[in-house]
Subunit: 189 residues, 2 copies
Amino acid sequence: MTAKSNSEELLEFFKVLADASRLKIVGLLSQKGFTVEQLAAMLELRPSTVSHHLSRLARAGLVSARAEGYYSVYELETDALEAMARRLLSREELLAVAGEIDLDAFDRKVVADFSLPDGRLKIIPAQRKKLLAILRHIVTDFRLGSRYGEKRVNELLSRHHDDTATLRRELVGAGLLQREAGKYWRTET
Amino acid sequence: MTAKSNSEELLEFFKVLADASRLKIVGLLSQKGFTVEQLAAMLELRPSTVSHHLSRLARAGLVSARAEGYYSVYELETDALEAMARRLLSREELLAVAGEIDLDAFDRKVVADFSLPDGRLKIIPAQRKKLLAILRHIVTDFRLGSRYGEKRVNELLSRHHDDTATLRRELVGAGLLQREAGKYWRTET
DNA sequence: AATCTAATTCGATGGTTGTCAAAATAGTAT
DNA sequence: ATACTATTTTGACAACCATCGAATTAGATT
């Protein structure tokens, strides 16, 4: 059995219902059980096609087959369907989808775009959003809880770019670094 | 504006969310607004691709754009999303999907399969489900509320097949026709 | 006005998948 | 056991669509 993450399961749910024929099948089965042949006639499709759709729906747990004499009758798993729909209503489920994505990817891309092979900055970005990404990156050179003199600050900043004055000013302006009595420290959180 | 039936709208909803990239976008936007560029970096896609997805999501009413300085920030329309999810929970919605389908298609197909060009039956089907379809068709020759003598019954049935005895017996056995004191009448409903 | 940048549109392409026909399977009736 | 029938599987084909790169548009900064 292939282990399936939560968001993959949610995606599969949407994919399964994102087809007119399968959606109609679910609608019909919500009334009563039907055989493959009956569904095929009502949908004007070949039995093999309907069988294919039913197997996909079954794999997603939305329908189940019950043998009845000559035929096999398919029925809707209303519980599974409702459970899935209910998951949609809980905001957490959407957060879980996003949770598996790297939120820092944007910052990393900007840093990479503006960095030379040796890690120093080519230029300091003029656009605010990109500048902030760079600053968030640079500030990680400062340990939380430590206090730095201006000279030490410039030392650390000079590893990124010669214009340490601009970097220092922007870091403070962005609230990432704080200053008092000639000493600098990194803002918590 | 193209008028869109209820079930078409539901189908469109599933189609829009049935894509990994779009699902991730929705997940990310459930946290906060993002620009096209940011989303592209986080999803490792080209901005043009993300723009395409966003326009589809917007057309479905799931996201909206807000101009902010240089960028245009996209935000999730949580209301629309919840409204859609809620529709899924109401059984009626599924019935509506099926409602647009012709439930008698199966019967008609069986009748067509077993009928000669002049409308008479080639043979009387041996399979129960198909026999019932034929019988449901034949019984419509009888008016509701009228009472028929055996002779008249045979007359009507002979238009379909010579073996009127079998037809008559099966019609009664299936509960479509009722008999009492030598008179026959069609069952109500 | 001129220039830069984000966003969108357009055209092309590769992959996915719904559909069918034919063959294989399973299960029932005779 | 044999024949029949519903269902499933397989292979092939066509339509759709996600993605990309290039060109264009829209907005904002200088």
